[in-house]
């Protein structure tokens, strides 16, 4: 049913045609500036995302260096605040989201048997405006008065009455990021709806395609709301409106409602494509069909729908009526059900599989375990009375780094290792890959696990100083942080080596892998399916 034998059904003669098909394309910088090819654009997104990952990571190193000891030693408190803010913004909008868009560009056309994305010129635009957005954001750090210092959540009045003049640049850059994401989402939807190969029916779509389709709808639903929110901040700060200013009849709590109406679906935007990736990798290295394909599709859809009903779990302490506290508490817990369905499906897929532990599989397994830990701490936070204690402490920081770093980022790493042979035509070094994995998985836990205890003991988040009893644990956390940061350089080495050379990759380097992309030669030809493959 879910296309296990898909590649056997393929008409093998299509594959040979591609090399004779393609036209001349420009080389050098022009190739990259003007490219409308989904693979080139995918590559651009992935490199951009990695550069942002290192940039945001460098800021995290500043944060962890300052927090290595109690007291203020390295940076000014205001600069510390700018680091936490811009770290968050870069990681969310610059690293995780573009990485997923890059993967979507590379993989969706190959997975559904299409020659390219549906809207190639828009694709070029949606990538090339991104570097400008981040250039603006980062340059605002060097302005007089400093860059954004109000947290990635830019709560009013921090971002209005108390913010630096550079806030206009922040707003503008978020607008550009939003436009880019929306264009990317439209492209994904049009491609999936209109470009599937004959026979590629909805319930045969690989889960990565399904999860991205649903993510794209989430993006279209909430990125415009984010654009509206930053616009209100802009007009409140510079043009005398009072959306969030109580003196003029506005309400700062309303900011939080509008922001989290965007913000919670946004966290699912950053995890649903991961679910798709893990659902591709786990079966491949278990040499079994994915357990419960259709329940995976329905679970993804229900998570997406429910994600609109839980936003106020970020606001339990704002003084909502008891009824609302209970409503949002129960809805939040309800989301854990479809999420649990997924975890159980992956475990059932592993059950009695003939497992092997290549690097992609290692990252996928770590994802399952560590993401689940993040889900559990999420459930703890969802309990309203308990959240009164945990809110705005390091417990929350631990929670969302488990789901985002050892969740979303690990799945992106897994995807990179899994599809690198297809992208480059070479096998990556398994030895270095495993080294990268073990360094990452150990250091990520040294980095984030103790944060749970810091939070339970009451250490507030986003503060450059702390009381003395937190010193030891913070030191361990910082060491974990430096180790995790350094470990990512191994990944850079692996990727560069793999692009430069290495053992030639066969069409299908993983014997349990499934999907149309493995029927193409490695490296995948510049134009994939110029003639649509037959999917039976």
């Amino acid at each position: 049913m879910n296309a296990i034998t898909r590649e056997a059904d393929m008409d093998a003669t299509h594959i040979g045609e591609h090399s004779t098909h393609h036209e001349e394309h420009p080389t050098g910088i022009k190739r990259w500036l003007f490219t409308t090819n989904h693979k080139d654009i995918g590559t651009l997104y992935l490199w951009f995302s990695f550069i942002m990952f290192l940039t945001g990571g460098a800021m995290a190193m500043v944060i962890r260096a300052e927090l290595f000891q109690p007291g203020l030693q390295l940076v000014e408190p205001n600069f510390f605040n700018q680091m936490t803010t811009v770290h968050g913004l870069i990681m969310v909008f610059g690293a995780v989201m573009p990485a997923f868009t890059g993967l979507a560009n590379w993989l969706i056309p190959m997975m559904i048997g299409a020659p390219d994305m549906a809207l190639p010129r828009m694709n070029n635009w949606s990538f090339w405006i991104l570097p400008f957005a981040f250039a603006i954001l980062i340059s605002s750090l060097f302005m007089e008065g400093g860059g954004p210092n109000f947290g990635w959540t830019f709560y009013a009045p921090l971002s209005t009455a108390y913010s630096p003049d550079s806030t206009a640049l922040f707003v503008f850059s978020v607008h550009i990021m939003g436009i880019s994401s929306i264009m990317g989402a439209i492209n994904v939807i049009v491609t999936i709806v209109n470009m599937r190969a004959p026979g590629m029916s909805w319930m045969k779509l690989p889960l990565f395609v399904w999860t991205w389709l649903i993510t794209a709808f989430l993006l279209i639903a909430v990125m415009p709301v984010l654009a509206g929110t930053v616009t209100m901040v802009l007009t409140d700060k510079f043009f005398g409106t009072s959306f969030f200013d109580a003196a003029g009849g506005g309400d700062p709590v309303m900011f939080q409602h509008i922001f989290w109406f965007f913000g919670h679906p946004e966290v699912y935007i950053m995890i649903l494509p991961s679910f798709g990736i893990i659902s591709a990798i786990v079966p491949a290295f278990s040499r079994k069909k994915l357990f419960g394909y259709s329940s995976m599709v329905y679970a993804t859809a229900s998570i997406a729908i429910l994600s609109f009903l839980v936003w106020a779990h970020h606001m339990f302490t704002t003084g909502m009526p008891v009824f609302a506290e209970l409503f949002f508490m129960y809805c939040t817990m309800l989301i854990a059900v479809p999420t649990g369905v997924k975890v159980f499906n992956w475990v059932a897929t592993l059950w009695r599989g003939s497992l092997t532990f290549e690097t992609p599989m290692l990252f996928a397994l770590a994802f399952i375990i560590l993401f689940t830990i993040g889900g559990f701490s999420g459930l703890m936070l969802a309990i309203t009375p308990v959240d009164f204690q945990y809110h705005d402490t390091y417990f929350v920081v631990a929670h969302f780094h488990y789901v985002l770093v050892s969740g979303a980022i690990f799945s992106i790493m897994a995807a990179a290792y899994y599809w690198l042979p297809k992208w480059t035509g070479h096998m990556y070094s398994e030895k270095l890959g495993k080294l990268h994995f073990w360094c990452s998985v150990i250091s990520v836990n040294v980095l984030f696990f103790p944060m749970h205890f810091l939070g339970l003991a009451g250490m507030p988040r986003r503060i450059p100083d702390y009381s003395i009893q937190f010193a030891d644990v913070n030191q361990i956390v910082s060491i974990g942080g430096f180790a995790f940061g350094l470990s990512q350089l191994i990944f850079l080495v692996v990727v560069i080596k793999c692009i430069r050379g290495g053992e030639p990759a066969p069409n299908k380097p993983w014997d349990g892998a499934e999907g149309l992309e493995w029927t193409l030669p490695s490296p995948a030809p510049y134009h994939s399916f110029s003639t649509p493959p037959e999917v039976k």
Partner: protein, 189 residues
Amino acid sequence: MTDAKAYSNRKLIGLLLLGCVGMFGFGFALVPLYDVLCEKLGINGKTQSTAAEYKAVTIDTSRTVTVEFMAQTQKDMPWVFAPEMKRIQVHPGEVIRTQFHAKNLSAQQIVGQAIPSVSPGQGAAYFHKTECFCFNQQKLDANANAQLPLIFYVDTELPEQISTLTLSYTLYNITDKGYVDDVEQGAAK
């Protein structure tokens, strides 16, 4: 690309763009929606912005409610601003008069606006102000001071589980904002 395909692409893009524009509008529609919901459900601690008629006929002496007063000033507001008393025990229905003290510490005339908020939020609908300095803007000359009056009563219908109401005022400096409707000159010394 065939014409049919190009057409269905365009149609889909059109629909998706419409969705985006709609959601952008929805973000702004949340603003009035929020106010209406809060007012109808009486949930965010906003009290009415005009004077209430005294309607209570009886004073419920069987019940005592603690009313607490808080006052704070926003950034850029060089006033001292404090309640005359911090807390008082009242019976529902009883009319209470109290005042807040304000002093302009700066060398300029400043217009202030006090914004009230009642906690717990569900209690706001049962806290009636028959007279309040927060209904008007307040103007104080350099170094002038004023006693700002507040007359209120607590509704006899106040839900059982609420035994304390906290009334908090935040004072904003709105001198430059150009709001000019009915400014009240800070009166008695």
